[in-house]
């Protein structure tokens, strides 16, 4: 059986892919976008967490970082808001028999960088997720 993180990441990426209908051209990536990926795109990765050994039932709690990249600051903020709406105070459907009973945003981030003279804007959030199996 794969790590619960594998199932949770795959499930969250699948959920994020719904946003492609709202944001034309959007792509979703695990950890990092492929080289030369066009904007806008989203990357998702587990930030920290793991198995919680407090009862016989298998339990996994982790925080996930979702960042929305664009060459337009307003667009990255807009997509960040969509991501918040998608996950905050929800219970995303998970694969592998895992059940999410808690998913909330607990921190937002913004940063900008300069890639070969072109500005890149990123907006995103940390989400805390609690699951059992």
């Amino acid at each position: 059986m794969a790590s619960p993180n594998v199932f949770i990441q795959a499930s969250l990426i699948q959920s994020l892919s719904q946003l492609k209908e709202t944001v034309p051209g959007l792509t979703v990536w695990h950890i990092q976008a492929a080289p030369s990926t066009k904007f806008p795109y989203i990357s998702l990765n587990m930030q920290s967490g793991g198995t919680v050994n407090t009862s016989p039932r298998d339990s996994f709690e982790a925080s996930y970082k979702v960042m929305c990249f664009s060459d337009d600051a307003d667009q990255s903020d807009f997509i960040g808001g969509l991501v918040r709406d998608l996950f905050h105070k929800t219970t995303p459907l998970l694969q592998g028999g895992w059940n999410c009973y808690y998913c909330k945003e607990y921190k937002q981030m913004q940063f900008t960088s300069n890639v070969q003279g072109n500005p890149v804007y990123a907006c995103g959030s940390f989400f805390e997720i609690k699951t059992d199996h």
């Binding site: 050994n53 009862s55 016989p56």
Partner: protein, 138 residues
């Protein structure tokens, strides 16, 4: 140094009546004691006691698991009586067991915002041991 065979509660199985209540348990605690009476008399200079009877109490905490936990919650309502069987290392021949009848005395249900809900039931021993601490399974 010789192996000491320490163990954790990982494999503990707890059954109340016919309901397994250990699937989401986080802690079970038991406290066994005896009721005593002083037999100090006359010019005694040191206190001594008579043992009157054995008694016991305890508590169990477990995660509430929404609809899946309803059966356990219903079984553990205050006033419920039945036999409590504890197998600290699981149901295996030669491993320890403790068993005695209980009556559920209270159920605490703290609902903390954004925290896991953990029910806390206290109980009292309600009769003689079926298996005292230190007993092993046949």
């Amino acid at each position: 140094m010789a192996a000491t065979n320490r163990y954790t509660g990982t494999n503990c199985t707890i059954v109340f009546g016919s309901t397994t209540i250990s699937n989401d348990y986080t802690e079970i605690s038991m406290d066994f004691s005896v009721k005593t009476e002083s037999r100090v008399a006359g010019n005694d200079t040191d206190e001594s006691f008579n043992v009157l009877y054995k008694k016991g109490k305890g508590s169990i905490k477990f995660f509430d698991t929404a609809t899946a936990g309803v059966v356990i919650t219903l079984a553990m309502l205050p006033g419920a009586t039945g036999n409590l069987y504890i197998y600290p290392k699981g149901i295996t021949s030669g491993q320890p067991t403790i068993a005695f009848p209980i009556i559920i005395e209270s159920m605490k249900i703290p609902l903390t915002f954004d925290k896991n809900v953990i029910l806390d039931c206290s109980f009292m021993k309600n009769g003689a041991f079926i298996a005292t601490p230190g007993t092993t399974q046949p």
